[in-house]
């Protein structure tokens, strides 16, 4: 192109000097290569996905049809926290069991913010063998590299086995107005608050009624 060697001329010289090999310029036109480069760059920038979706694993209890209702409900009431998830990201929580034949427990209203249900869960979990703090300490040790991941899991497992009957149990009960997001948020809170035993259930009629009441007389 423009860089072609053109200063060959000087007719007279030709006779005397040897014919030299043409010195072609070392410059090449890079424009097409750059074009292609940027085209590819644009393409890959647009098509790439950075954040891989993550997953949370959930183990559902095996549905055993031979269990009687009495056996199914064998959860120590004083350690049971019920979370009813309902519309507008509201959580109602209460302790124990809502028995229609006895005075119903009062519902506490909360939400999924930092100062919402999380504070309650952490406080309650700490009340029982300091469970939240203990596991959190181990987590920090893992992060600092003082504790192996496998050892950590062993320790947590042993800790939970030791206090199996007296640790906090959370029953998650999304009602019919709950969104999937609420369920994931609630499961997330379980992970954040280091709660070992929780179950995903459905709100029963008594609880539906309690929520309806709470919505009416708020």
């Amino acid at each position: 192109m423009a860089e072609l060697n053109t200063d060959e001329g000087g007719g007279g010289k030709k006779k005397h000097s040897k014919q030299r090999a043409k010195k072609s310029s070392t410059r090449i036109d890079m424009t097409p290569m750059v074009d292609l480069g940027f085209l590819l760059l644009t393409f890959f920038i647009l098509t790439t996905t950075f954040s891989k979706p993550k997953a949370m694993e959930i183990n559902m209890p095996v549905k055993d049809k031979d269990l009687t209702d009495a056996e199914k409900n064998k959860v120590p009431a004083e350690h049971t926290l019920n979370m009813i998830l309902t519309k507008d990201n509201v959580v109602y929580w209460y302790f124990g069991v809502a028995d229609p034949n006895k005075p119903l427990p009062a519902l506490n209203k909360s939400n999924f913010s930092k100062d919402g249900i999380r504070k309650v869960l952490i406080a309650e979990n700490n009340k029982r063998h300091n469970a939240f703090k203990q596991i959190e300490d181990w987590k920090k040790e893992v992060a600092a590299g003082k504790l192996e991941e496998a050892d950590y899991k062993e320790k947590v497992k042993a800790f939970r086995a030791q206090y199996k009957t007296s640790s906090l149990i959370v029953l998650l009960k999304p009602d019919k107005d709950a969104k999937y997001k609420n369920v994931v948020d609630a499961l997330d809170e379980m992970a954040i608050c280091n709660i070992g035993s929780y179950a995903l259930l459905e709100a029963n009629q008594v609880e539906d009624m309690m929520v309806a009441n709470a919505n009416t007389y708020k």
């Binding site: 940027f38 790439t48 996905t49 954040s51 993550k54 997953a55 949370m56 559902m60 999304p174 999937y180």
Partner: protein, 203 residues
């Protein structure tokens, strides 16, 4: 008076550093990128602190969009083909060779099996979307639970597959619960909920 002639600078500039950088970026994006198959549903996943990475293969996924429509997909071309054939036998729907091929190459779908041949023949994405929008997703009712059968035959064809639920934030809990119940009926008691990585706010 003689004018001062400005030296004519060459209009070509040295592009080498720019090219270097461009190709460096190209290489970077080429290595990092992974192509996402186009999903039939737009799903805005909720976020969680969980950091379990889901595998790209050997997975069966049930998608629930914001209108509670249910979609299904399973990885592996051979698996998909087998599942489609078995479903065809059960529901007396015959698929042509082209339709089977189309099915084994596409991603998730959310139409009842009767509409599936038309969906597979549609060709252009626009037509597919039109069929998709008209249907109510894969039927879940206990009388004609097509999702149960999709899960069942996929489990037979590929017993080692993980099962994942990918739900939209706004999907209602009863719909998700129904999917979970179906999975449990099929003896799948362990499954994954696909979420995005939590960003900031929660901590």
């Amino acid at each position: 008076m003689p004018k001062i002639k400005m030296p004519k600078s060459s209009p070509s500039i040295d592009m080498t550093p720019m090219v270097d950088l461009a190709f460096l970026l190209v290489t970077f994006f080429m290595l990092i990128s992974q192509f996402r198959a186009e999903e039939a549903a737009v799903i805005d996943m909720p976020s969680s602190v969980s950091d379990l990475v889901i595998p790209d293969k050997d997975i069966m996924m049930i998608l629930v969009d914001k209108d509670d429509k249910v979609f299904f997909t399973v990885t592996g071309q051979d698996t998909r083909r087998n599942v489609l054939e078995k479903m065809g036998e059960k529901y007396k729907v015959t698929f042509t060779e082209e339709q089977k091929k189309e099915f084994s190459n596409m991603s998730s779908f959310g139409v009842p099996i009767r509409q599936l041949p038309a969906y597979l023949d549609a060709g252009s994405p626009e037509k597919k979307k039109a069929i998709q929008d008209q249907s109510k997703g894969i039927p879940l009712d206990s009388v004609a639970c097509e999702l149960c059968d999709w899960v069942f035959y996929s489990r037979i064809g590929a017993p080692k597959y993980r099962v994942a639920i990918k739900g939209d934030q706004a999907a209602s809990y009863p719909a998700i619960r129904r999917v979970m119940d179906i999975l449990q009926e099929k003896k799948v008691n362990k499954f994954n909920l696909i979420t995005n990585m939590e960003t900031g706010s929660a901590e």
